[in-house]
């Protein structure tokens, strides 16, 4: 304790506390301690700035360019072929050589910098205008582009909204599907599929949008069903797993049946076009971006591609992403189910050892998941796997972090059944733990709300089973509190619009919001009109404009308060980190203040 008290660390802690309190003392009243701290602050900060200015700006940006460091000169000489590789580390570099390698233009900048100092001179201070003009001119140019490119044009674009509501439909729909409680799925499925189809058709959303919305919908539902089954089966360590898996299989059968509907739905949504009629050439430019690649990968793995040309193009497209040679990828797609053939390829002797799947790509993860589901659906295929290949696959899955899907879990567990006994139980246990961890992670993830929902719904009548309770705790939620609020969530709009009428309302809100933003922006701009009197119609519009401006100032104010209070919290957290130190500093300061004010009163 004593050692610590006289350590540098303790001194630092005391200094921190004392400096903090000296500044805070200003809140009581202006006093010499505050004044002292304030002046020390100005000195320290200016000194700090000067030191950094030298080390971070003048030295690297000026000195090192005029007189390059030895290493840099060696590199240049080496590149020019004037330095042999073996002499690289030892060759002497003279000052003359270094100067010769300096960049001439920096002498100009040095001169301009020095000219700036003529400011102090009475006679030659006009010379300082040259560097002044340099900086102001250059920055005015940069600022013009910045204003046009960073603010004006993008903000104009962002205000050009679609007022039919169709453009936002796809994302909006996927979002609302996400919030549907799993228990209602079986009964609501038909209804939901119905309105998706209706709206997609009626609004002519194109195939890619349909695909994206559909994908979100599909995975959400699927994952939810599977996870529900998986969760309840894992409640007790000694649970009857085969029975649990049977239940899961039943759920999956439903999902598969729905998938068939869904594909038909997508085709319908695409206006009867088969999916492979996507304009491949036209879209090629856009494929470089991740969402596109993903969407196409998904298309390839979930939908049968009829045209050979499309398969070829797609194969070429995502071969690099998958780390596969192009012909193999194209070949894989030639089969009705691309992912199944990929499994075959992985197993084939012909598959090059060097070719590796990049399991971390989102699309590939999805691929791996479906691959496992496939194995799951046809257990007999497991026999085709060699133990080494299985292990490799498992390792890859582990690194890819494929979690959450009970189908995958099932498959993994089945895979373990094929292992010889000594390692089987352990590996199985390991994987269960791994999967639990995965679910925990996902709980913290985007889908936490509905997962929490699911847990609560499916563990009734006992509101929260031991497993879900653990999960909730891991997420930092109080299980009891959560159980009481999830009901509230249900009645407060977390539930999606499931009728066409409700969708209509949702769309109307969306359109109205867009309209409000457009009106607000235009009115706000009108407020800034200078060459017209603000009377009549313009007066009204500019009044509306100022109302919008004021509301945004209010929002800013709210956030500013939040920020300032955070800072005060931070200071008190620091003080409370060393309560004794802070206490001592406080007492010292209070006594000193009292003494000071007494002396001030006496004099």
């Amino acid at each position: 304790m004593l050692d610590w008290l006289f350590s540098v660390e303790a001194l630092g802690a005391f200094l921190t506390c004392f400096a903090t309190l000296m500044i805070f003392s200003f809140l009581y009243r202006d006093n010499p301690f505050y004044k002292f701290a304030e002046h020390v602050f100005v000195g320290v900060s200016t000194g700090y700035g000067i030191v950094l200015m030298w080390f971070q700006i003048l030295r690297p940006n000026l000195l090192d360019r005029l007189v390059p460091p030895v290493d840099a000169v060696r590199q240049q000489l080496f590149r020019a072929g004037e330095l042999a590789p073996e002499a690289y580390a030892t060759a002497p570099i003279s000052m003359g050589q270094r100067l010769a390698h300096g960049q001439f233009i920096y002498y100009v900048f040095l001169t301009l910098g020095v000219l700036m100092l003529f400011k102090i001179s009475r006679k030659f201070h006009w010379l300082s205008r040259w560097p002044l003009a340099y900086v102001i001119g250059a920055f005015a140019g940069i600022q013009i582009i910045q204003a046009a490119q960073g603010a004006l044009v993008p903000q104009l674009e962002a205000t050009m909204k679609d007022f039919s509501g169709r453009e936002t439909l796809a994302t909006w729909m996927a979002d609302s599907c996400r919030a549907l409680p799993a228990a209602e799925l079986p009964t609501r499925r038909a209804e939901q599929a119905g309105w998706i189809a209706d709206w997609m058709k009626a609004l002519g959303a194109d195939s890619v949008q349909a695909l994206r919305a559909g994908e979100a919908w599909q995975t959400e539902q699927e994952g939810r069903l599977n996870d529900v089954a998986g969760l309840s089966s894992l409640e007790e360590p000694g649970a009857d797993l085969p029975a649990a898996f049977k239940r899961m299989r039943q759920e999956q059968a439903r999902v598969v049946a729905r998938d068939a509907d869904f594909e038909a739905l997508l085709c319908a949504a695409a206006g009867g076009r088969p999916l492979d009629s996507l304009r491949l050439d036209g879209d090629a430019a856009a494929w470089g971006t991740a969402p596109w690649q993903d969407a196409l990968l998904l298309a390839a793995t979930t939908v049968w591609l009829e045209s050979p040309a499309t398969r070829q193009a797609l194969g070429q497209r995502f071969a690099p992403g998958l780390g596969l040679p192009t012909p193999i990828a194209a070949e894989a797609l030639a089969y009705p189910e691309g992912h199944v053939s990929l499994v075959q390829l992985l197993k084939a002797e012909a598959f090059p050892q060097s070719a590796k799947l990049d399991w971390s790509l989102p699309g590939t993860r999805k691929l791996a998941d479906s691959l496992l589901s496939d194995v799951n659906a046809r257990p007999e295929r497991l026999a085709e796997w060699k133990p080494a290949q299985l292990e490799d696959l498992l390792k890859r899955l582990k690194t890819a972090g494929i979690t959450g899907s009970a189908a995958a879990l099932d498959a993994r567990l089945r895979v373990f059944e094929t292992l010889p006994e000594p390692g089987r139980t352990q590996a199985r246990g390991e994987f269960l733990a791994f999967w639990k961890e995965g679910v925990t992670r996902e709980l913290r993830d985007l889908r936490q709300t509905w997962l929490l929902h699911t847990i609560a719904l499916h563990t009734a009548p006992d509101p929260l089973s031991s497993f879900s309770r653990e999960e909730l705790k891991a997420f930092g939620q109080d299980p009891a509190a959560w159980a009481s609020t999830h009901g509230a969530l249900d009645t407060n709009g977390a539930r999606p619009a499931v009728s066409v009428a409700k969708v209509r309302t949702g769309m109307a809100v969306e359109i109205l919001s867009n309209l409000l933003v457009l009106v607000g922006v235009c009115a706000g701009i009108f407020y800034f009109f200078f060459s017209k009197k603000h009377t009549g119609a313009l007066g009204v519009v500019s009044k509306v404009g100022i109302a919008f401006l004021m509301m945004s100032f209010g929002a800013s104010f709210g956030y500013t308060v939040m920020g300032r209070i955070s800072l005060a919290i931070g200071r008190f957290q620091d003080l409370l980190a060393w309560p004794w130190m802070a206490g001592t500093a406080l007492i010292v300061l209070v006594v000193a203040l009292a003494v000071e004010s007494r002396r001030a009163r006496q004099s």
Partner: protein, 206 residues
């Protein structure tokens, strides 16, 4: 000459900095831009010499006159100490310079900043009055946003966060966008005025 050359410099550099954005396809544009920007950095660094000159002369004059001697001496001493430590032992982690930074500069700055929480409380009580419809709108929005951003708000009414999000996403967005567009236009025209030499007062008199 005293004004024409600077005006020419500003015109050429300003025009170039606009045009270079659209010429990035040419390989020589990048290095040239880099040199120009580095030059700007170097020139601005030099003005710090003027700054130090200003700060030292002002404070020394005060000390001579006997005003606030203790704090002013402390200021200059702290400045000298930081500079000496920085050049003597460097500024990396573990150096005395860094230690002073962490244990003196950091808490002083953070505390100065946090005084604002208290000022806001007093301003909230004293200055924020719903004098007009506009001011009322400002206050109502501010309160809704404040309530919506805290856990207690979520507890009081679960829709508070949504209300606050709505304010942020609709009226706030529209207001901000209007200001952004207006300010961007102002910035472009002001910048052009400087580059084209319509505004030349920054070059000083005579």
């Amino acid at each position: 000459m005293k004004k024409e050359i600077p005006l020419l410099i500003a015109f050429l550099l300003g025009t170039w900095m606009i045009l270079e954005n659209f010429l990035s396809g040419f390989s020589w544009v990048g290095p040239m831009k880099e040199s120009i920007t580095n030059g700007g950095i170097v020139i601005m660094a030099f003005t710090y010499v003027l700054g130090i000159y200003s700060i030292v002369s002002v404070n020394v004059a005060r000390i001579r006159r006997g005003q606030d001697v203790v704090p002013k001496v402390a200021l200059l001493a702290a400045l000298a100490l930081m500079v000496a430590l920085g050049f003597w032992r460097g500024h990396e982690e573990g150096t005395p310079f860094n230690w002073l930074y962490l244990n003196l500069y950091v808490p002083l700055q953070a505390t100065m900043f946090s005084l604002l929480a208290f000022y806001i409380a007093s301003a909230a009580f004293r200055a924020f009055r719903a004098r007009s419809l506009e001011a009322t709108l400002l206050l109502v929005c501010a309160i809704l946003v404040m309530v919506g951003r805290i856990p207690v708000g979520e507890k009081l009414w679960s829709a508070f966060p949504q209300v606050s999000d709505w304010i942020m996403n609709i009226p706030n967005l529209a207001g901000k966008r209007a200001i952004m567009i207006g300010a961007a236009l102002g910035a472009i025209s002001t910048g052009l005025r400087v580059i084209l030499g319509l505004e030349r007062s920054y070059l000083g008199g005579e």
